[in-house]
Every structure is written in structure tokens, then in C-alpha cells.
Symmetry: C2
Amino acid sequence: MSPAGSTRWCPTPQQLMMLDEMYRSGIRTPNATQIQQITSQLSLYGKIEGKNVFYWFQNHKARDRQKLRKKLTRQLQHQQQLYHHHQLLHYLDSPAASPAFRHLPYYNSTSPNLFPQTGIHDEAAKQVMNYAWNFDIPERVDKNKGMMRTYGCDWLMMVDVGSPSSSSSSSSPCYPMISRPPLKTLELFPLTASNLKEECNGNDNINSTDFSISLSSLSCNITGTAAKITLSIP
Amino acid sequence: MSPAGSTRWCPTPQQLMMLDEMYRSGIRTPNATQIQQITSQLSLYGKIEGKNVFYWFQNHKARDRQKLRKKLTRQLQHQQQLYHHHQLLHYLDSPAASPAFRHLPYYNSTSPNLFPQTGIHDEAAKQVMNYAWNFDIPERVDKNKGMMRTYGCDWLMMVDVGSPSSSSSSSSPCYPMISRPPLKTLELFPLTASNLKEECNGNDNINSTDFSISLSSLSCNITGTAAKITLSIP
DNA sequence: GCAAATTAATGATTTATTCAAG
DNA sequence: CTTGAATAAATCATTAATTTGC
């Protein structure tokens, strides 16, 4: 059921574990770049698209919330403790930072940032819902599938820079967390990050840091067939 | 404020009128193709992007609904008329067909379908939320803007096939509703339309008609400049 | 044991709500 | 105050677990 004619993504156990670990490590709403990286990595363990990653985090976060809300409601009803029932929801997005979760095994995971971004945007972009659905990984790409998709206002373009012949028969050990992804992502017009929100931490207003990466003269010559739009970059 | 440094779309009066007319003529959730056509047309009257069109319909529909809901609530509270308060919401998406709106001036507009699509999907695709954010119109395109965006699972690619030099100083009469759009759109992978819904009419279950357009070997050779995916950024 | 029938999880969409520019 | 834009909540739909009758 999982392969072929299936209509919806069916995550492999490994993919699931990795996603879970990322979630536990604090990732909630990965930005476009992060989604690309995650997708690239997870593609080593099965077919996956950017949108799957996006939806997974969306759903996981939402269901975490409602689970907690439900639990909270019950507690309140049963114990009639009237203290502190307001602020709690604000911590839902960064449970790792919340004392309320310290007792859970995984929140104490000392695993560092799984995606050591260029480090510049990381903070500012945390809450921005900008995504790019991108190609499947070249080698696994279904003939007619690859295409670019974005959500929000952050636009990405994925470029295959001659991905090596790493049909790599998984000599990879357990979750090689960081590894040069099979695809290079190219951020085009990251744009100003308007409407940043702060749900997690204190409500310090982050004043919309602009984090554009300017590309000089990317001569786009699309000779692609289906999957590609491989903008061959010189 | 409207030009240059503005961060959000500022519709011109003409654009607004046209959108309104389309809305009144029954368009609620235009599909990707329709959005392209609309965008192309409206671009004659000012800068506009596909997403603007998309959002406009989204918001207009939503606010129409809530306005009506509010009105309805008041009526019910004030008049205590208990009749017919259930079915009403079902008509909100096709108010033109609802007797409740016949008294409004514009719903009687006899304007025909503004976008005489190929006619095949029109019905089935009515409720599918597939969109593509596309380029600005070539001539007005901001240097760094052009890019492809999609929402949902319907993917489009817009290609400028040598848009003419119609810098046309608006010799255009009143809302030339149908005219060959300045851009040609190229649908890539329309895909199967699962989960079609019927909101407007009776709830006959439309058994998910599959309307994929299979393109064999679309040798996409985009050498375009203009609207282009010109990623060339100085 | 083993399918058909139910129920629970969860991937994917759509609608409602909120934010903020003007 | 209006409304374009963005996000979160609700909902739909499909797949997997689980139960049930044989």
C-alpha cells in the first residue's frame, strides 16, 4: 500500500523517527531552507516531498497543541486548580524550552541543532511560514512529478548541481544527521520577513530582519523536461 | 504609497470593479487557470500578481459570509423567526443562485461567464483550491519579482512567449472582459483532482472525477527573458 | 487464522481567525 | 475602518490498527 499507486505520503519508520527527533529538538515551523534540507535528508530513506515535511510539522504541532489543551482542560476540571491557566498555551511552540516538559525523556536530548543554518536568519525566520515545495530528489523523482511549489512569500528554487552518482547503497550508518544533502538549494528572494511572531519566548518584538541573499546573474536556461527546471548554474 | 516601496498590493479602482463584477457573476474560488487569466487582464490596469487575485477572492468570500452570518444572527435574535436558518449557509458560495440575493442589484446581472474555459473541468474543478502564483506581467515586472508559486497540488508554469510591445496607454474601453491575455499559461501537471466537494448545489456526491491532462514529453525550453524566471539579479 | 467491519491515526485541504498596512 | 496577507483551527479523506464473526 505504501508504494506505487498510493495517493498520500506514507512515511517510513526511519523518516518518522528523524522527523520526531527534529521536532523534539525544537523545530516547529521550519522555513523554506530547512524544509529543503530535511527533505533532502529524509529522501535517503524513502520517497518524500517538501510538502510532506511541511504538512507533517503543521499537523504534529497542531495535534500536540490540542492534546495538551485537552489534558489541560481535564486537569482543570478535575482538580479545580485555578492557577496559571492562561500563559500556558504560549509555550506550546517551544516545548523544549518549557520547564513543563523537562520530565519527558526526549526533551532533555542534548542533540544540537540538526540544521546548522548559515546562522543568520535562523532566529528571525523561526516563525515565518514560508515554504517551498520542491522537487523530489533527482534520482527518485517520478518522471512527471518534479516541480516547484511554494507557500507563503519565501521563494526558493532547488537546483541540481550535478548530483553525484551517489546511488549510494546506504553505507550510511544510523541517521547521519548532517551530511551534504544530495541537492543544493538556492534561495532566491527570501524577502523581508514581515509578520514575525513570537509565540514561544517572551514577546520581544523582533523587528523584521531582512535577510535576502542576492544572487548575481543566475543565467536561467531551462531546457528541462519534466522533473527539472534544472536551472543549470554555471 | 501605492507604487514602489509599498509592501502590499493596492488595487486600482478599475481592478476592484472588475474583481467585483467577476465575484458578482458567480466566481468564488477561481482555479489556477482562471487566476492566470484574471491576473493577466487586471494587469492592464495596474500592477498585480496571481496571489493578489487569490487572496482577494478568499477574503471577499469569507467576509461576505461573515457579514451574512452576522446579519442573519441579528435577524434571528430580533425577529425570533425560527424558520429556515440551517440551510442558508450552504448557499453562500453560490449566492447568484440563491433567491435570497435576487433583490441585490448585481446578482441580476446577466453577464455571462467571464472566463469561458475549455469547459471540461470547469464544473469539477470549481471547488478545488489549486492555484499558482505567477509572474508579474512582463512589462511591469519588478526586477526581482518573477517566480513561480503554487498552492495546492495543481502546478502551473507561466511562460512569456514574447509578449508584444503593448505598452498600450490604456486605449482600452470599459473592461474588455475577454481578450487574449498578454501571457500564455502552460499547465504542467494538473494532476488528479481528489476530494472535490460540492458546497453550492445539492450534496450529490460527485465521485471524484479524474481530470488529468497528461502531457507527454513537454520539452520545456524556456529561454525566455521577460516574465521569466530570470533570476538574473544584479 | 483471516477477512470484513469498525475504529483510530494522520496526511492533506479548506475555512476561520488574526495581524497589520494604509 | 477596511482589507491584503498570513497563520491556526477545523475538517476531510485515506491508511493502519483493531475488533468481530466465522
